[in-house]
Subunit: 226 residues, 2 copies
């Protein structure tokens, strides 16, 4: 198998038969000493973190599959910490769709003049470019279309999908008394159709239990069992 | 007359009879030694700059009036460097609508991965909050509505108006062999309807002549005569 890319938390291989293998590592991103899945710098390792990300992703991708949502997911090997996925064509070098149920993080930093931390939001969708060098800038629908990253129809479809999937994840979290605050998805074209790619785990979402942040491994224990 | 506020380049007075008087000063904003109308820090004065801003604003507001576009403009006193305007209710503490005909400035800084400087854009509209402390952050339509800054209908109307007015200003620039690159407008509710407020001058637009940037005083000389 040929290594295609070394991501911040996953290594990407070409299986040679048309699919892609993602190896989940234990690296965590953050700022200074503080672990922050939204940050762009690897600050260290947490043992078992890669396995927890994979278990959660397997759980959520299978959940989405049951609801008829297209994803790149094929299978997961929890011993090898690998996920087999379909080949995807990203929009440009990648776009992220964030869905917010409560104000937190960058949303409050940007709009703190008008919003309070934790203020309820109604499945508010924001789109950002995956571009570490430029701080993953926010982009609006018209700019996405004029820069030819997506068609107008694709943007609308991806926004609708974002809200639909967020609802599914939110309901799943509620089964475990977890509160979903916000979540981000990456979409790409898989077999010509828009599909969710990358992972769906504590690294993509802000989740709280009794008001306290729940990080990746704890989230995995709660949702997937110890 | 009661002084209401000291802005970066204008002082705002209440006339006592329901209107507002704007006094245009010679202060210029920039970064370091470089004059940049988009910057948020006053770096010095340029004699005659306030008068040039006022002359240009008078010119463009009267042009828009002829085309039936609502503005807050009533009259200008070029000797006193004052503009009499109608009272306006801003959306929050103010929103700016930017219309781009070519990629420049912050657009290229944000989306440089996908756009080249001067790449043509098709009346691309972006909306930013007036919030110096947070670097005038970009905001999308859904966030504007959910934060109750504008209704969905008001956002659509303001975007359509932005494109319409940009077309008028672009055509006016072309009469003087000037190329409009981008322009920003502030909208507010005036007598219950959406109207253009603040000023329309070289401080709000990027204009070139033979490929060279044209700053406020030169722009005034070209458009309004010496």
């Amino acid at each position: 198998m040929e290594k295609i890319r070394e991501g911040k938390t996953k290594t990407v291989f070409d299986t040679g038969d048309g699919n892609i293998l993602l190896k989940f590592r234990d690296d965590v991103t953050g700022t200074g000493d503080v672990v922050d899945p939204g940050a762009n710098t690897v600050i260290g390792k947490i043992e078992g973190k890669g396995n927890a990300s994979l278990k959660l992703s397997k759980h959520f991708f299978e959940l989405l599959k049951r609801d008829g949502i297209r994803t790149h997911y094929i299978d997961a090997d929890l011993k090898e910490n690998t996920m087999l996925v379909k080949r995807a064509d990203t929009f440009g070098d990648g776009l992220e769709f964030i869905c917010r149920l409560k104000a937190a993080g960058s949303f409050v930093r940007r709009y703190g003049r008008y919003v309070e931390e934790d203020q309820p939001l109604d499945y508010l969708v924001e789109i950002t470019l995956k571009d570490d060098d430029r701080g993953d800038p926010l982009i609006n629908e018209e700019a996405l279309v004029q820069l030819k990253l997506m068609t107008k129809e694709e943007v609308s479809e991806a926004i609708a999908l974002t809200k639909k999937i967020t609802k599914i994840v939110k309901q799943e979290c509620e089964r475990f008394d977890l509160e979903l605050i916000d979540i981000k998805f990456e979409f790409a074209r898989v077999e010509g159709e828009i599909a969710v790619i990358d992972e769906i785990s504590g690294d993509n979402m802000r989740v709280r239990k009794n008001g306290q942040a729940v990080m990746q491994k704890e989230l995995c224990d709660i949702i997937c069992g110890k």
